[in-house]
Subunit: 163 residues, 8 copies
């Protein structure tokens, strides 16, 4: 069980680290790669055609603007590819969102939301997929959800106390 | 290995049948359900909290307008939830797309593209996930991709012949 | 006559406090709650199904991104639900606005504008509703409008004086 | 308990009839009016300043394009005003939606979704408001919700039977 | 020849001052007014129905969000009304732009661009209209254009010198 | 008093005829021209630099897509230029609207709404401008408004009669 | 001098034929290919890396939805790549437009407008590029422009005759 | 081989310098001009009709808002014109993007992405065009791509080292 976190540019790292942090927290091994669909297309092909052999189960790919990375990776592998659209132009990210999610029929990409929230959710989605064959991971996920619940409930309580 | 195809309204069926057709073609069992996040919220809760026990591995959820279905299901299960935004208002589907994909951090939804293409890709994404623990399914997926390739190549050849 | 102000996350408080301030100014009791449609769905169900019994007349619900909160609450109660879309992603709030307002037929949400203006108007809308059965509240609302008028007229006069 | 259904143009009638049909079904009296914020502004002022005296509790206002009707009515009354944005230009209704919902602070409009779904929900929202002081109406609303539920459940069952 | 510059809120003044500055530069008398379509509707009616008698030839109206001001004024006068959409919400001004420009047939508003550029152009458009019956004003406008030309040509020359 | 109605392509005629019909109805002379900012730029320059000498007071310019026509004409004349954005691409007209209205500071265009409504309003705006120096035209405009009012009131009455 | 016209799917042919028709009219040889960035990525790589050797000077690439084709080709060649966004989803083509034009720095794509107009202009842009080293082609282009001019002037004249 | 870099306003220089920097790096001569389609239309005509005689092969034109510059230049020359939309209004640049790219059939503009990335790519696109008749320039372009590749690979390696 190993996850690849790929991004199109070094500048995407502060966003994609959110995904890495979640995988680390769940003790899932991952590799972080910078691979550009446009500047290093051969590397992307090489990486994605061999991803399964390299032991990856899932690929998380983040990119901005005309975000082709997730789709190009998906074209070369039947592993699930999760696309994180990144808000890096003046258009608020609608460009990367549409470039990521509107894949033509036949080659799916699993798109999550824009930016840091999306990167975090990409990792959680990867964990949900991996948990299909790992009861302990499923348990950890349930605990994670419980912790989120508790933190919301505490915020709710402390707010009530204040008002 | 069983997939649930859920939709918010009977009128979404022509779209979501695309997903069913793919699963059928790959001999994956599935159930098609009409469950509305807004009109039958208890049924959605009941369904999604028990989905794992019912033997489902993945849930595909299609909805239009303020498309809350996928997100609401995802809130009740740690199974992977794939959201299909459906174009059923006058806004071209941007409403359902954003309502599906822009999930807050903590509860992921795997969004695919709008409408029939999206529904088809939702099923293919589900297959890619299931194939993580099924070599035969992986092989079928590769064959499916080969068939797509061949059909593109043939279109390319027959076009060249014509010109 | 009691109003609930619900929000999806602690970070929405600076926005939703605008609603609380208005209700306070009109001596209408209210409770402020943090309840997440995705992270604490049971709490949302529990809260919204029992809201009437708890003495609430109206529920104001604010959320950002794929803002499902108002719609999910509305699914569990026939009390009027006022939705405040919050601008908390890179898309300027068009995601939360569409997720809040484009409800499917059958389950209404009363959407107001984005952010602080919207939160303030949500409270005023709640007061207009409550005033249907309270002549004194209606009077207070008319005075509030008069005060707004005066403040615009004063701004107009002081501007004329300056020019 | 009387509801006004106002629209900016005769051509909006096929949309706004959805609201009338719901009110009829619930035996709530209503009046349907054609009043244009731009072509008959005095009539709009006259109507909205006297709406309360005329016995109206709620005003539902539908308009397309730069949809000012709901906002202009709201400026003249402290009755709750529900705005129905209508898709009547080439922009898919985003013009009327934003013109209706983005009210400045101080004068609220309760916006619902675009077109027929919105008109229907406007009436249901009006009923929810009226039900605050009418237990029988509340019961009818609960029955209406039950009927919706049943119809979804039946669609679900009949679909299961077919598959 | 007198121009009215009207705005919906004191906070719009920094934008609308651009219009005033142009009129001042051309020695055209103007009055600046704060009148809110929603908070002081009677004042808007009073102002716009009497604008012609007050000696105004043209009305420039600036407003943000659901910007109804220009349209509401236009409904009460046959004087030319120039609308300046102001970017004062999180949507970048697309709300005020559409609310200003998409007027229904019968009541025209002359919309200019968003914000300061728009306010400046509103004044220049007013001058172009006034110049239809004033040869000296037409000459001043031509000189203004010449000055703009010169400043562009100088910028061009000084850039060439640098490169 | 003569108005020019210019359009970028023969295919815009069905839209721009709405403007011509209004001018005809008000007995204002006009000329209809097909001049393309991109295909006949010299003709546009020639026309717009000589428009005043040709006796035109106002220029109405309609164009679709990247609608440069109104702006290009405005660059060559200080006559008021009214721009009609035409919906002729797959983007619903947002392209022509923004290309028409978002003029840079210095060269104003008076934009009206999209399509037929906009073309009609362009003519009415032209009439409002011409009426600044023609009391009889002002009277005709007031009568036109009265007729609009009557037709709304009649629609209102006949609707009341039916219900 | 040979141009490649590539498209992502057979269904794009009616659009891309506009480009072919122009090239034919100018006696420029071209090849039409169907190559999918997602379904036949190796063929796209093979084609684009060898395009120069195959004698192509320019590549015109049309695709819809998350239109990656032009960008992916551009990543493999330093030949000029012209991207034609095609309107084939419910979003009016804004998805393919942004996916085509918003290329990250380093790998340019020359985007033209949506659909048939765009395809035609793609071919004309290719001709303009080829004409840089072919005076006869430049002459033909000037004649083509003259013909367009004439056809606009004739439309203008015949319209004047009618009015 | 000489390239013109034209912009509508001095304030566009920080963006357009990105294009100049690339051309400098490749030892291609260029001239930078400030020419406004609206404020100096004659200069734009003069420049673009004589551009070929002045020895220019390609024109790069950057402008914001209703960005007519590239289109207007293209109307006067059959040289390839590359349009750089600049984000200079509150709309995030969607106004300048659509005004640049959505050219009507007959007069092509090669649009690149928004802002600095777009300006850089405009220059690279110009180089790709010039390289059609210059093998040494082609080689330099290939080296530039290799350098980009290396920098991505290094970023990838240094990231792997860190993790």
């Amino acid at each position: 069980m190993k996850v690849a976190i790929v991004m199109g540019s070094k500048s995407d790292l502060p966003i994609m680290e959110e995904a890495a942090a979640i995988l680390k927290q769940f003790d899932i091994s991952y590799e972080v790669r910078i691979l550009s669909a446009h500047r290093t297309p051969e590397k992307v092909t090489e990486f994605s055609t061999s991803a399964m052999k390299q032991g990856f189960s899932i690929i998380i790919a983040g990119a901005g603007m005309a975000a082709h990375l997730a789709g190009v990776i998906a074209a070369h592998t039947t592993l699930p590819v999760i696309g994180v659209p990144i808000d890096s132009s003046s258009l608020g990210g609608i460009d990367s969102l549409l470039s990521t999610v509107q894949m033509p029929p036949g080659i799916p990409v699993a798109a999550v939301g824009l930016g840091k929230s999306g990167a975090k959710n990409a990792a959680l989605l990867a964990l949900e997929i991996l948990a299909l064959s790992s009861a302990p991971l499923r348990k950890k996920l349930l605990r994670y959800r419980d912790d989120m619940k508790k933190s919301v409930l505490e915020a709710d309580s402390s707010l009530k106390a204040k008002c």
